[in-house]
Symmetry: C2
Subunit: 359 residues, 2 copies
């Protein structure tokens, strides 16, 4: 494998729409959401490891998930786990990781990717990353992978690219925020809009360079520590300075400002696994379109449900349609799929009423 | 308390319509169905003990429930627990218990009652039993307590009595099997029909006498052991002979044959707790008519459900109406209340598919 290839896995999220399985002390990415024996972060690590050497895969996460990461990814060493001492959006941690990588290897190219998404076709994924790495190695460009939309989803951001049938890699025209339904339909009709999957590729040089130009303050803050990165003193520098960083996403900080943004229309199916419903879409179904994870079931007059329990729990259901049924030790959730967006709000309510331990 | 007063508590049933809480290894009567800290048999024992001395209360049950009885009723000693070595209907065990009691006390009067029914008004219950005991002590009569029907229930048997406004205790005209809806409505319209609650009162002499006349074979079978009852040798006699007894109910064996059957219209509310729905009727409700046992709940757009879990389990439900939701360690049941009669059948299905341990 190419020693210049690096990856940054974003693993700090909480995934509260997957409550009660996902909680702030044990978030989604560390769960076996498909009941296959592998957690989402394990699947993502494996996928990236098909093109990036294991020792070059960095995990960006929160201090409280450090043990989970080391436990679930035995090939990752402590120095590959970057712990944010304060909750910040994506720009600060990506800059920090990129500087560490750049100091280690001036020729590094990297992919930045969420740890909790679903991509089944790994061969195509690897091929698309390879294409991107090849391009980023040669030119000063910041790339994203864009997903070809299959329906007018209002839950994703969109990437509009400049039409140019000759090039596989397209120049980005603009990023568009989550649209309303009508706008989403218009986007799809245009044919040059892609879903923003939050997967980025660039060389260490290019991304650091972009921060120097478009986010001077952040750049200078983190450059103060450049001499101690990958050394003993790094930890205390980060502890003292990280919280000073602006709370800003990589999209706002860089992608919407830099002129050299490109997108590769991805050729694989993708799902952000944002909700129980999106997980339902990727799970196997029984003849009545019920998706079952872990449970043994006796189902009558019940269809299109997603049912998840601990292993081998017996679930007997009659006359239930389009529901999310999730059982774990101390919590049982029975919620209509069409209201899945409310689950995040339920978590706050539960915290308020019953304390943090359940949420 | 009157030393001549005895009770026989029937505690051998399985209550499979209360699955998954009630199972053949841990049936309904041994569960705290109301979440009050007391099991049904404990409540029943306490109620009877208001008029019958604790040492005169006998428990008729199956061998496998012996430990549960002794554990839950610490005032009951082993000699008060009569274990049926073979599954038989009610007549053989009632005769056996009655002979033991008669041998102990020729003047005994007794109440025979199920261990798993709901009776809230204990004062009136005791008053009605007292009235019956007084009558049975003086005359050779076999009495039942009849419940004044509140609606045309098709799940109970009915007792038709002879109209006679002068006497509080009525002579029974006939027992009527579970009627269809139209017949039940007719019964209620008549005004001299009562629900058969399976609560009987008689003297030891009267019931043994009735067996001698109407069930000669049973009588002779159990009389063979009369000399060893309440002695060491009793156990081996019962083990050798019990299985020879005819499988017949007390209703068919005696009540439908003897001429001296009387009924006292009971003045208390009663519920046989035969199904989740009947338990629902007696539980406290929240403002949306949900009945909650043990669980902590967050309920939205949900009404008229019965929800039972282990203590303090958090249950979050949206858009569910008229359901039974029961969770225990290894089983979750979500079933429409109106189909509660099917639950018994589900248990067989579960046994077949997943083995006996869950049923």
């Amino acid at each position: 494998m190419n020693k210049n290839y690096y990856a940054i896995l974003m693993a700090g999220g909480v995934g509260s729409r997957f409550w009660p399985v996902s909680t702030s002390s044990f978030p989604k990415q560390f769960h076996d959401m498909f009941g296959t024996g592998e957690t989402l972060i394990q699947r993502t690590f494996k996928r990236l490891n098909k093109i990036v050497p294991a020792e070059n895969i960095y995990i960006l996460t929160n201090e409280k998930y450090n043990d989970l990461v080391l436990e679930q990814l035995p090939r990752v060493t402590q120095k590959q786990v970057l712990l944010e001492p304060a909750m910040r959006n994506t720009a600060p941690c990506i800059l920090y990781a990129s500087l560490k990588i750049k100091k280690q290897n001036e020729d590094a190219v990297m992919v930045v990717a969420p740890s909790d998404h679903w991509i089944e076709d790994e061969t195509t994924f690897v091929k698309n990353i390879q294409t991107s790495f090849d391009a980023c190695s040669k030119q000063d460009m910041l790339m994203t992978l864009g997903i070809t939309p299959t329906f007018p989803n209002t839950g994703y951001g969109y990437i509009q690219y400049e039409r140019n049938p000759k090039n596989e890699i397209k120049k980005v025209d603009q990023f568009r925020e989550k649209p309303d339904h009508e706008t989403a339909q218009y986007f799809i009709g245009q044919g040059n809009f892609l879903w923003n999957a939050g997967i980025f590729m660039w060389s260490a040089k290019s991304i650091v360079n972009a921060f120097e130009i478009y986010q001077k303050e952040l750049y200078h803050l983190f450059m103060q520590g450049y001499k101690v990165y990958n050394e003993k003193e790094e930890a205390s520098f980060i502890k003292e300075n990280y919280h000073k960083a602006e709370n800003i996403s990589i999209d706002y900080a860089i992608l919407e400002n830099a002129p050299n943004i490109f997108v590769l229309p991805a050729k694989f199916d993708w799902n952000d696994l944002g909700t129980w419903g999106s997980l339902y879409n990727e799970l196997e179904k029984d003849p009545n379109a019920n998706a079952i994870v872990n449970a043994d079931v006796v189902l009558n007059y019940s269809s299109r449900n997603i049912i998840r329990t601990s292993k081998k729990k017996l679930v007997v259901i009659d006359s239930l349609e389009d529901f999310i049924v999730v059982d774990k030790d101390d919590v049982l959730l029975i919620y209509p799929k069409k209201k899945e967006q409310e689950i995040k709000g339920i978590v706050s309510k539960v915290k308020e009423k019953f304390g943090d331990h359940l949420a």
